[in-house]
Every structure is written in structure tokens, then in C-alpha cells.
């Protein structure tokens, strides 16, 4: 099989320029979708019959939680690709993901807690989803800590890539075990951080929001990716072109 096209496609200068060109194509639609979804979620959607207007936190909590997992998955897939094919660009993708994912995991925890207070009456409940989210934050912190502790950039890339892959194998196991544990100890009276019954006018802003945040992630990733590629690239010829001396 001829891999030449693949290598050309994945070559740092090509990816760099592609990232530069594609960024606005993700950034502006992301902004438009998120603004539309905000209007839909805050104004058009009717209050929930049980949770009243409080349910509207879902328009922030769900995208943040979605980002936390999707970004981790992206990071782990990129890390695996980078390890297997020794692709520098894939390492750059993985490295770009971590801070984005960690920050949204943090947001998911805060919004979950803010949602929990009116629903449960406490700021923190050992709800399985919040607990998993907390562990995910620890996984991100471990990844970033490991990366930061290794001086040699290539070794930092490859070591943290192994951790990302190990982590993604563990994420479903952790989630399962936490759910299992919770089902043993959960007092039945406490309401779960559940999805309210969403009618159509409540649902579409949520879907737009999820799509908007996904595009937003890609846009931010593309910007970060360019920086990470520059850091890893030593061939002067094309760098001079793009950074302009």
C-alpha cells in the first residue's frame, strides 16, 4: 500500500496551514450555534414542570460534561495514533487537548454542584456522574502533571501518550464501578442529577449547544495545535515562511 499521500497529508507544514485555514470555519459557526442555543434555552424553552427554571443549568452542564469526555477520547485516540505511527502531529493534537478538557471538566463539576444545591439541598452529593467527573479531572491533572515533570519534550510526548491510552481504557471501568458502588449506597429518596423529561422546545437548544461546543472545541484545538506543531518542528524552511522573520 502506498502511504505517501498519508504522510503528505499528515506532514507538519500541511497540517499547520490547514489548521490556520480551517479555524474560522469552525469558530464562527460555533459562536452562532452557541448564541442561538442560549436564546433558545434561556428564553424560548418553557420551564420544567418539576425543576422550574432550574433545569436550564442543563444547557451549560451537559455541554461541559460532554466536552470533558469527548476531549479525553480525542486525546487518547491521538495519543494511540502517535505512539503507533510515531506521528509528531498526533502528539501535538494530544498535547493540545489536555488543558481544554481539564477546564471543561472543572466547569462540569461546578455546574453540577450548582445544579445539585437546589435539587438535593447540598452542594456536593456522591452522585455517580459527578464522582466520575471528579475522577476524570484527576486523570487530566495526572496527565498534565506527568507531561510537566518530564524535561525532554519527545519523552514527555510519548510517556504521557501511554498514560492517555491507559486512562481511556480505564474510564469505562471507573464509570461502571462508580455506578455500581452508587447503586449500593444511594438512598432512594435523593433525586439523581437526571435528565428532565425534555420536550422538543427544550431539546433543540441542548442539541445545538452540544454541536456548538463541539465545533468550538475543534476551533480552539486548531489554534493550540499550530503552536504545538511549531514547538515540535525543527525544519527551519517552512517555519520561516509561517512565522515570518
Amino acid at each position: 500500500m502506498n502511504w505517501a499521500w498519508f504522510h503528505r497529508l499528515a506532514s507538519p507544514p500541511h497540517i499547520y496551514r490547514l489548521a490556520q485555514q480551517l479555524t474560522p470555519w469552525f469558530a464562527w459557526p460555533a459562536a452562532a450555534l452557541i448564541l442561538t442555543a442560549l436564546y433558545g434555552g434561556l428564553v424560548l424553552a418553557p420551564p420544567d414542570y418539576q425543576q422550574g427554571d432550574g433545569f436550564r443549568i442543563i444547557y451549560m452542564h451537559a455541554p461541559a460534561a460532554w466536552m470533558s469526555l469527548m476531549v479525553y477520547t480525542t486525546m487518547a485516540v491521538a495519543a494511540a495514533v502517535a505512539l503507533i505511527w510515531r506521528m509528531k502531529v498526533a502528539h501535538a493534537v494530544a498535547a493540545s487537548c489536555a488543558p481544554i478538557g481539564a477546564s471543561f471538566t472543572f466547569a462540569a463539576l461546578v455546574t453540577g454542584s450548582l445544579w445539585g444545591e437546589p435539587m438535593w439541598g447540598t452542594w456536593w452529593e456522591w452522585d455517580p456522574r459527578l464522582t466520575s467527573e471528579l475522577i476524570l479531572l484527576f486523570l487530566y491533572l495526572g496527565y498534565m502533571g506527568l507531561r510537566g515533570a518530564i524535561d525532554d519534550p519527545q519523552r514527555a510526548d510519548r510517556t504521557s501518550a501511554v498514560l492517555a491510552v491507559v486512562g481511556i481504557v480505564n474510564v469505562p471501568i471507573i464509570h461502571y464501578s462508580v455506578t455500581w458502588w452508587n447503586s449500593l449506597h444511594q438512598a432512594p429518596s435523593v433525586m439523581r442529577l437526571g435528565k428532565p423529561q425534555l420536550s422538543m422546545p427544550m431539546l433543540w437548544p441542548l442539541l445545538l449547544m452540544l454541536l456548538g461546543f463541539t465545533l468550538f472545541f475543534v476551533a480552539v484545538l486548531l489554534v493550540r495545535l499550530r503552536g504545538e506543531i511549531l514547538v515540535r518542528e525543527r525544519s527551519a524552511s517552512w517555519i520561516r515562511e509561517v512565522v515570518g522573520t
Partner: protein, 208 residues
Amino acid sequence: MPREGLEVENLHLWRGERHVLRGIGFALPRGGCLHVAGPNGSGKTSLLRTVCGLLYPESGRLLWDGRDVHQDLPAFHSTLIYIGHEAPLKADLSARENLRYWVGMRRRIGRGTLEATLQRVGAAAWSERPARTLSAGQRRRIALAALSLLWVPLWLLDEPTTNLDTEGQQLVGTLIEEHIARGGLVLAATHHELPLRRQVQRLELMHG
């Protein structure tokens, strides 16, 4: 047409920001010895570690008997022994135990062979002492014993004569010469001269 032995083509290696190896190339046929020379920090150790597959080069090729070694590293590894600055010895094990564990992982060795080799490198007298109590030169001699016990074709030696007395250095020379004579390959990195009776190929590395 595949050639026998080791071929290195246009090797480039980066360590972080440093461009350590800049287009290194050489061919080492069966029965050949290459003396890698150069000042400290010129990349001698990096070259040896790249050749044995511990470091992955940025570009360039490494061929063993005409095949790219990175396609089957374990197979390539079973044809070589690499000895770094320090002999990999456990302080709490005796010289003999160290040798048995080190070599035994790769080759079943009989007691007689082990004793004869210890005798030959002049280690018989202190082979029961824990490695902790051995001098640097004695530790080197254990490494020499491993070298002759393993019986693999490709020797990668980093500063093989360091810490050895005159007699020990002669032993290194003799071992290398015997190895070449039976068709082995030796890649020795040292800024000293190799204690050999004849001239060998030389690769001079410059400051990186």
C-alpha cells in the same frame, strides 16, 4: 543486494533542542571493527544507543544484513550486546550471580563455561563478593565476561577500556581481536586509542 553486517545511512538524531547526530553513515561488514572517536559530548553514546535501537532517529536507516532493524527490534536485539559506561550490576548480588542473571536471560549457560570465563577475565578470585565491594575495574571485567559468554555477533561497547589496568586493557584488545577473527562485529566508542594490534576503521565525531 543485501549486504551482510551493519549498515547505517544518514542518521539524524535530535535530543530536545540539540541536533546530536548529523547525517552519520557507515558500513560495518562481518569481521569489522569501527572505532567511534570524538570528544566528550560529541554524540558517541547517542550513536551507540541509536544503533542498538534504544533511541529512535529522526531520519536515516539502520540495516542489519540488509533488513531495517526497526521492523523487528527483538530479533535484532538478540544479535547484539550493548555495554554502557557502567556495567549493569546489582550491588547486592555477587559477581557470579550478576553474571548468571544477566547472561542467563538470553542464553542457557553451563557451570563449566561460566567458571572458565570468570577465570579468563581474572574474576575467579573475587566472584563470590557482592558487586557493591568491587572496584570499577573489577565491574568492567564482569562486563567483559558477559561479552564473551553471550556469544552474539554485534558488540556495542561504550568506553570499553575505562577504569581498566594495562592487563585489563590488553584483555579487551584480545577479546575484540578474537571476536573479529571469528566474524563478529565491534562498534567501540572511546576517546582513547583501542588496544588493538592493527588499524581499524575510524569514525570521528565532531562537537555537536
